[in-house]
């Protein structure tokens, strides 16, 4: 691959960027386990799809791992109690979203006993039918832990149905600052490999490719050693390059398959799962444990003791930061609060936001780490074109959007933009390109919805018109029929009078 890649780079196929990864020293610090806080906030929507529906009452006592809210619909995931205690309320909490809007959440007050409810494990997962594994994974509320939070069981079941050949396990962790996957691979490689084998069994894939970026040599070594005895699992070194962890990019780097624009990976025989997800699947199947905690990275120039912390879901970011030693100077130099990585993560308005299933990191960035500054005019330097991993023309799209020519921007491939942020990262004029694109996508989606609505209204109106017309013509026909009948009766009567046989 080496020479070919260099050759391709030489001719311009060098997508992506190489941000300063800033993963160490946090990545090298031992994992700390945070004690259960007094109060946990569990949003009903922590995943992609429909929100879960509460099945507990306020005041009810719950055990650790007990179902709090059940999945609703085909794409959804249940929520479980991260510890034993009492349901204190079903209330609104600031969502892990830049808008600062609130989301309904189940509030659990811990009783300190941390007592498990009933768990049904399985000593030999490979004896289970693949769809039984899918059911158990679904019941455990496992979603993709890389950040997208797509329900894992949906992917596994879809893979089995489609007959995928390749399971790709994403250990690339290409976002700067984040190191939780790195830490998991270093500390729990054997368990991850076990989880991968369970997922392979469930998905029916023949081979497994584990992609790990070359800036994580310890994780590469640990995973290679753990997978050495499994012939079907290959641990692959991929170049550290953002956004290597993006689904279609990773698939191409590992398998050489280019997923068509209108298809999903399963259509070409591939599914992608994150290493953390493999671990969660293993816990769900072997130990019957639902997803109630996760490892996340606390990092950024303002954090006193950066590192990876195992946290119960529902813990407030404020509590996690306090556990991590707080912020330097009590947050005086704080420039930005983020959930997730700096490239695709989101800014949050304050720290009273709960950790959810997809929270891979909590970052407190100092001013010299956070992108800021006024945008200058575009100098057409084409750095953005070179960086875009999708092959779009960010400068042309943003120029169209600035002129409100959203359809022209769409014609340039706006819908294919994965919002990875490479373009804005390299732009010397600091143009907030991703902001333009997200705005335009939202606007186009709103227009589409409006169009569908008017279409539906128009259709209803047309149907009504048609019905009225039909009724009118039916009435007229009936009237004509009656008239004809009357005329016939009359003439018959007349004939009768004249003495002719009817």
């Amino acid at each position: 691959m080496g020479i070919l890649t260099t050759f391709k780079d030489w001719f311009g196929n060098d997508w992506g960027v190489h941000p300063d990864d800033r993963k160490r020293p946090a990545a090298d610090a031992a994992v700390r386990v945070m004690p259960v806080p007094e109060r946990l906030w569990l949003p009903l929507q922590q995943h992609l799809g429909a929100p879960a529906r509460p099945v507990v009452l306020v005041g009810q006592r719950v055990k650790k791992g007990q179902l709090l809210a059940e999945a609703q619909g085909a794409v959804s995931a249940p929520v479980h109690a991260p510890t034993s205690g009492t349901v204190a309320a079903i209330a609104e909490i600031t969502a892990p979203h830049p808008s600062g809007l609130t989301l309904p959440a189940i509030v659990v007050d811990a009783d300190g006993a941390d007592e498990w409810g009933e768990r049904v494990g399985c000593a030999d997962p490979f004896a289970l039918a693949p769809d039984e594994i899918g059911r158990r994974v679904a019941a455990a509320g496992v979603v993709g832990l890389g950040g997208a939070a797509f329900p894992s069981s949906v992917k596994l079941a879809g893979a089995a149905r489609a007959g995928v050949a390749t399971l790709i396990v994403n250990g690339s962790e290409c976002e700067p600052y984040l190191s939780c996957d790195d830490r998991l691979m270093r500390d729990a490689a054997a368990a991850i490999v076990d989880g991968i084998r369970i997922m392979r069994h469930a998905s029916g894939a023949a081979r497994v490719l584990v992609g790990i970026e070359d800036n994580k040599p310890e994780a590469l070594a640990a995973m290679a050693a753990a997978a050495a005895s499994c012939a079907e699992i290959r641990v692959c070194r991929v170049p550290a390059r953002y956004p290597m962890g993006s689904e279609k990019q990773l698939i191409q780097a590992l398998s050489g398959i280019e997923v068509p624009a209108d298809s999903r990976p399963a259509d070409v025989g591939v599914i992608v799962h994150n290493v953390g997800t493999a671990l969660a699947v293993r816990a769900a199947i072997r130990d019957g444990q639902p997803l109630i905690s996760r490892l996340l990275t606390v990092n950024g120039g303002c954090v006193v003791a950066p590192g990876n912390i195992e946290v119960r879901l529902g813990t407030l970011a404020a509590d996690v930061l306090a556990f991590a030693g707080g912020l330097h100077g009590d947050g005086l130099g704080l420039a930005r609060r983020l959930l997730g990585g700096p490239m695709m993560g989101m800014q949050i308005p304050h720290w009273r936001v709960p950790v959810v299933k997809g929270t891979s990191g909590i970052l407190a960035l100092a001013a010299d780490e956070a992108a800021a500054g006024d945008a200058d005019p575009c100098i057409r330097c084409a750095s953005c074109v070179r960086a875009c991993p999708v092959g779009l023309l960010p400068l042309e799209m943003s120029a169209r959007i600035r002129n409100d020519a959203l359809d022209a921007a769409a014609a340039l491939g706006l819908a294919d933009c994965i919002a990875c942020g490479c373009c804005a990262y390299v732009c010397p004029s600091r143009i907030p390109l991703v902001q333009y694109f997200q705005h335009a996508k939202g606007e186009l989606a709103a227009r589409e919805r409006a169009r569908l609505r008017t279409d539906a209204t128009r259709k209803l109106a047309a149907q009504r018109q048609e019905r009225l017309a039909r009724e009118a013509s039916e009435k007229a026909a009936a009237a004509a029929r009656r008239k004809a009948e009357r005329a016939a009766q009359q003439s018959a009567a007349e004939k009768l009078v004249q003495g002719e046989p009817a």
């Binding site: 007959g163 298809s263 259509d267 989101m346 005019p377 875009c388 907030p432 991703v434």
Partner: protein
């Protein structure tokens, strides 16, 4: 917690930035121009320094004035990006080293006001401002624009002398003039003298690699410009495609023609080291604003510039054609950008989704 951060509106991702800036880019380019510029001062003395200085001051001055008149409030910030300074510098590199003061002022006006601000300022212009000015000056004032002083001309004027000459606009004394290689070759060819004889009679330094020869201010330092280009490539300010294509577009036809008819066509080496070839390849054809934004587009653009330059030099009305070639290709840039687009991942060149690969489950 910091109350200011509380009040701040949410910022869209990404929250990290690579640290590049327009001003930084311009500084790199200026640094890359420096060796050839100092070399020019050494060759042509005080008058060339005055010309260089005034051209830059004129560009910056016109830019400030244009922004003020347009009611822009960020005059300081816009000037700070250094693009007007760079335009002036590039223009100075292409002028005859002893050109009088008004050439600098008029050239600055054409470059900045006509070539750039009329289009809407930085990033909006279609044509390279320095080349617009160069061509407009050449066409309007052919005489002062084709008076080439001999390198290291003696007696070298002192500062006061130079100032008087610069402001007075006196023509270069005949004894001090010299023809450029391209100009010389053209004149002789048109007189029916073939190139073998011409070059045999030319002073050997006309092609010396150190470049002690007549020409525009930046012409003699061709190799230093090449080095500057190498620096820009190394720091990633420019990419190799456009310069390579320009030089190839110029050298390949030149080499072929020279092989076929050496009496009529100059060799490739002379073409590459003469006129504005190096300046054009590394500093003009790489102008972000007026060249295409994709790799194939840049290859096409560069090859067009090189080829047109060779054609104009060989058969056109002027001995040097780089500026004309650049303007012609600038005009084609929007078309190139419309026609040459990168392939979107998962789609074919025409934007349709790719077919599923053979053996996919969903086929």
């Amino acid at each position: 917690m910091n109350p200011n951060a509380f009040a701040a509106a949410p910022v869209a991702s990404p929250h990290a930035h690579g640290g590049g800036s327009v001003a930084r880019t311009m500084r790199h380019v200026q640094l890359a121009l420096l060796p050839a510029t100092l070399h020019g001062f050494w060759l042509y003395g005080w008058p060339s320094f005055l010309l260089w200085l005034l051209t830059i001051l004129a560009c910056v001055g016109w830019e400030a004035l244009a922004l003020r008149l347009a009611g822009g409030r960020r005059v300081g910030a816009v000037l700070h990006d250094g693009s007007a300074l760079l335009t002036g510098w590039l223009l100075a590199m292409t002028l005859p080293p002893w050109a009088p003061w008004w050439v600098a002022v008029v050239g600055g006006f054409i470059a900045i006001v006509v070539g750039k601000q009329v289009f809407g300022g930085l990033g909006q212009n279609v044509f390279n401002p320095a080349m617009v000015a160069r061509v407009a000056l050449l066409v309007s004032f052919p005489l002062p624009l084709t008076q080439w002083v001999a390198p290291l001309a003696q007696p070298a004027p002192g500062f006061v002398d130079a100032l008087q000459r610069f402001l007075g606009g006196a023509p270069v004394p005949d004894a001090m003039t010299s023809a450029t290689l391209l100009g010389h070759a053209r004149t002789e060819l048109s007189r029916g003298v073939d190139l073998m004889q011409v070059l045999a009679g030319a002073p050997p330094s006309s092609l010396s690699w150190l470049g002690e020869r007549a020409g525009s201010f930046g012409e003699a330092g061709a190799l230093l410009l090449l080095a500057g280009g190498g620096y820009l490539l190394a720091v990633g300010v420019i990419r190799w495609h456009a310069p390579f294509a320009v030089l190839a577009g110029l050298a390949v036809p030149a080499a072929i023609a020279h092989a076929v008819d050496p009496a009529r066509y100059l060799d490739a080496g002379s073409h590459l080291l003469s006129g504005a070839a190096m300046l054009g390849a590394f500093f003009i054809a790489t102008d972000y604003v007026t060249s295409p934004s994709t790799v194939p587009g840049r290859l096409l653009f560069g090859a067009g510039v090189g080829l047109l330059t060779w054609i104009i030099r060989s058969w056109g009305g002027y001995p040097e054609g780089m500026a004309f070639a650049v303007l012609l290709m600038n005009a084609l840039t929007p078309t190139i950008d419309r026609c040459v687009r990168p392939r979107i991942l998962g789609r074919d060149r025409r934007g349709r989704p790719l077919d599923l690969p053979p053996g996919s489950p969903r086929q």
